[in-house]
Symmetry: C2
Subunit: 605 residues, 2 copies
């Protein structure tokens, strides 16, 4: 396991758990990067839809961006309330479950899980696009690069959340810095009427669509990708340094302000420079070349964009395992997802998330535009349910200015609900249907898992447990040869039961006779029963014999089948043996009152 | 398992084993088809090499075919002696092992195993080529068709050898009939000076080689593919009806005569009609169209050729499992290969052979020409060793005209040995190197397997077995919760050991406290020990505790770890449980004196 230690670090003591908390500055790097990084593709997705309707249609990009920014402000205000009300974290799932009931909670959870996976996939794909915009030679390796990036983030997260905060602080702040510079220089140049240093490369195709309401709504739906990720903080309040809620609420507001500024700024600059999305270069890349030229600043911008997109993928690595562990604690997912690994992170959740994201990258060929239609449905579903839940809560708890708070949450719920309907309809055939199918499928599997744990708990209950009666025990030792391993198994059987019987399934008459002879010397007084087998099956006669024995048994009568097990020095040698033991165990597993035991025989060299 | 029954038939009683024997006529279908079918590609492979040196070089095809036919006569005479001397069958492996020693025997076995796999692959590929020659539309599905054919033969063989004899008799005799017709009509037309009905399609490319000795030797090597498969009968004498040796020897001679006639006849006809190998049509196909035209007789010829090639693949399905079962009985291969399946065939050998052949077909894209260079090396290695062994045997046994017999075998050994050297050198870079690497690798694995079985036998031996002392027994019940399953496990533990101890690994202090409380009610007087775990590992503290217990133990002191095992109603529910039990078993497997037992707890619905 030394390579595992080298990659992931030594185990951490449980007592160090409390230390692994984030300051506001580190939390911004871990949790805000998802939302911030979406400016790298949100404007482009709006322009991509509008450009199908010709040059004039591009003028609609600014109004659409303004509507989305309004939605953002509403959401930030609403989520700030959520963070303050739920210091334990848990986000949409918890809020919806507590205030609306189990089913809305589970729907919300399913939606969020899907979106965490998509965050990783979309961010990796967009990060790769930022790299290939600057270095076109790499354009042929999109999928491989995406998968590699996901692996790197997965390893960083398996090492532990504090360390991942540190690793990712530098790129987040570099991105914020370089984007501020881009907007400042860009606006300064624009107001002074200076032309683009490098002309944009995107070419407007012939218009294939008219400017219809549906087209504008599609553009709006695409732009809504800008809002993905703003719920991350509410899920992760517990990861903040104390005072957790205050720090989390502050981080939430800072994030909202930066995100709104960047998104509007980029959309405005793209408008000023008349940028059209083009094959091979992202809108940000074209903007960078227009404002900075193809010099060092441009490459810094692209590097920082790629880097923050990877950090954004990292947000999901903070959120997904936390949500699965909450669901596992509520018995809607297998318990293994609730256990902390030896680096104090939920390793199983991290592994599942990275595997799912890699699969998406491979299936969709690492293409951001193909993944985007799947993206926003889940987020807006969770937004809507969460805020509807908050309305109910305000009206129930009735603290402070609860009317105003409830009105704010209600406005948010209505706005996001309306956006959800728009997104689901306009993007349905482009891939949103996958999410529409997956959410109920996940909910069903949550419920089946829950039912399983429920019946396990019921049947394990000690209520009406019958009083203890001493177990009457028969041991059966199936033997295929008389040798040291069999004799040890026999001796073990004699030590655990009063009645012991050896059985041999006679596949070969000569061998059966030899065994009977040897048994006189080595049997130690234990009777040897010969079982006939007409079809060369070892298992059937043995199982039939045990069924005969068990017939009419009382509850306190048991049969233990004692098998010799060969433990070999090399693993491949194990393949030569023990298949019969394996088959016997499988055949007897479902028979009540029968226990199968292997007595290991250890070979030396 | 009902689909398995439907596909393979019901189990057969062991007592029916003697019935499953072959008459000469059926044996010719089963064992001779490999050798006979090679005329479908042997001439073509010779012409393919010669054609690189221009038109005049094609004249060498007849002398080369004559040399190969001479070799054939020598081999048939020599193998007839082998069949008569070894009524138990076993062929090259047995002969080489008995007369030359273990290593030559194993080399011979390795060579034969490789060649059985290649027989299946080459015959399937050539069979597919016969089909695509007649129906060019199928040319794009070579690999899929090859894999399908191998599957069909595998299923036929899994049903049992007698039935496979019946299935394959018709195509073999149809092929013999249609080839006799082709040669008769072809010669008749040729002697009367009639031209080809359809002109051959093969086009002679510009000569790229000169007619050198090396080129002629390469052509000879390629043509030697005609001789593959003639050893099949000597491996399978036991499958004949009594008198086995006489029937086998007769079959051997009949086969040799037919093969020699066909090979020479086809090569001569190809010479007469000046046929050149061409893309998309085999030589036999071109010959068929020249002699019969593209009518019913031509399609019959192609169908029969394809069919016998598949029957030829079937020869390997008779030989390979027999040889692996002999090797397994000698403990050079895992014992599982020596067990008869429920249809009285060696099912494991059949499955391995078909998997390996399918892999070859996929890797070499179902191309006969690419597979041929790998083919003959192994066969001729086995021929040489077998006949060298026969020389030693004649000189040892000294029966009848032993001098003449020895001289005949010696001549065969020298001739095939010389051919082997020629083949290995001229085909080395074309793929023969693979076989040159594989043979020693297989021999090494035979020897390691043998050594393994040897040390198993030694260590299992009852010699110096210590006398029985009653085992002193401690049972340990690791519990993670107090429930019905744990209590059953505890009761079981009390029934098998005098000393019982429950242990709980305290991962969560609150839970540990709860368990201690419940234990007062349910523990039944068994002490409960709490184990600390600083790194959230369940396994390490438990294993450490057991190591402490085992320290300084005597040989008759044992620890049994009793675990509750959840048996769920649906298989997928099992994934939720028992992982800890699995890990505990794995961790304790290599500790002598420790037995791990699972007490199943059955969930109802």
């Amino acid at each position: 396991m030394s390579w595992k230690r080298w990659l992931l670090g030594s185990p951490l003591e449980t007592s160090r758990l409390a230390e692994e908390r984030l300051t506001v500055a580190l939390a911004l790097a871990v949790f805000a990067s998802d939302a911030l990084s979406s400016v790298a593709y949100a404007t482009e997705e709006i322009l991509l839809v509008l450009s199908t309707a010709g040059l004039a249609a591009l003028n609609y990009s600014l109004p659409i961006a303004l509507i989305i920014t309004g939605l953002l402000a509403l959401l930030i205000a609403s989520y700030r309330q959520t963070v303050l009300a739920y210091p334990e974290g848990g986000g949409s799932y918890l809020v919806a479950r507590e205030n609306l009931g189990t089913m809305p909670g589970l729907v919300s959870a399913a939606a969020l899980l899907i979106d965490y996976v998509l965050t990783v996939a979309v961010s990796s794909a967009a990060g790769v696009a930022a790299v290939t915009s600057a270095l076109p030679a790499l354009a042929g390796h999109k999928v491989a690069m995406g998968v590699l990036f996901v692996s790197i983030i997965a390893v960083a997260n398996l090492r532990g959340v504090r360390e991942s905060g540190r690793i990712f602080a530098i790129p987040t702040y570099t991105f914020i810095g370089s984007l501020v510079l881009l907007l400042a220089v860009g606006m300064w140049r624009a107001t002074r009427g200076l032309p683009a240093i490098e002309a944009p490369v995107g070419v407007l195709q012939d218009a294939t669509h008219a400017v219809t309401a549906f087209l504008l709504m599609r553009a709006f739906s695409s732009g809504c990708a800008a809002l993905t990720g703003i719920e991350a903080i509410s899920n992760g309040v517990k990861a903040f340094r104390p005072p957790e809620t205050r720090n989390a609420a502050t981080t939430q507001v800072i994030m909202g302000c930066i995100l709104g500024t960047f998104f509007l700024g980029i959309t405005w600059l793209a408008h000023v420079y008349a940028i059209v999305p083009g094959e091979g270069q992202t809108v940000i890349s074209q903007l960078g070349r227009a404002v900075f030229g193809s010099g060092g600043l441009y490459f810094l911008l692209q590097a920082a964009t790629a880097a923050i997109l990877l950090v954004a993928a990292n947000t999901a690595f903070a959120g997904f395992p936390r949500l699965t562990s909450i669901l596992a604690n509520d018995r809607f997912l297998p318990r293994q997802l609730a256990t902390l690994g030896d680096r104090l992170v939920y390793s199983n959740g991290i592994l599942i998330l990275s595997a799912a994201a890699m699969l998406l990258l491979i299936v969709f060929q690492g293409d951001t535009h193909a993944l985007i239609p799947l993206y926003a449905v889940g987020v807006f579903l969770a937004f809507t349910l969460s805020q509807a839940g908050m309305v109910r809560r305000h009206l129930r708890v009735r603290d402070g200015a609860y009317r105003m708070h409830a009105a704010l949450s209600a406005a948010g719920a209505v706005a996001t609900g309306a956006a959800l309907v728009v997104i689901a309809i306009t993007k349905f055939t482009h891939g949103a249907w996958i999410v529409v199918v997956l959410v109920p499928a996940l909910v069903v599997s949550f419920l089946r898992t829950h039912r399983h744990y429920f019946y396990v708990r019921t049947q394990l209950s000690l209520i009406e447990m019958e009083p203890e009666r001493p177990i009457r025990h028969t041991a059966i030792v199936p033997i295929s040869a008389v040798n040291r391993a069999t004799i040890y198994a026999l001796r073990y059987a004699k030590s655990i039961a009063h009645e012991v019987e050896a059985v041999h399934v006679a596949l070969d008459p000569r061998r059966a006779e030899m065994i009977q002879q040897q048994w006189r010397t080595w049997g130690g007084g234990v009777p040897l029963r010969m079982l006939e087998s007409n079809y060369r099956s070892l298992i059937t006669p043995l199982v039939d014999h045990i069924d005969d024995l068990m017939q009419g048994r009382r509850r306190n009568e048991m049969v233990t089948v004692v098998l010799p097990e060969f433990v070999t020095a090399h693993w491949w040698e194990g393949l030569f043996h023990n298949q019969s033991a394996f088959l016997i165990k499988g055949a007897l597993l479902f028979r009540p009152g029968v226990v199968v035991t292997s007595v290991p025989f250890h070979f030396k060299r």
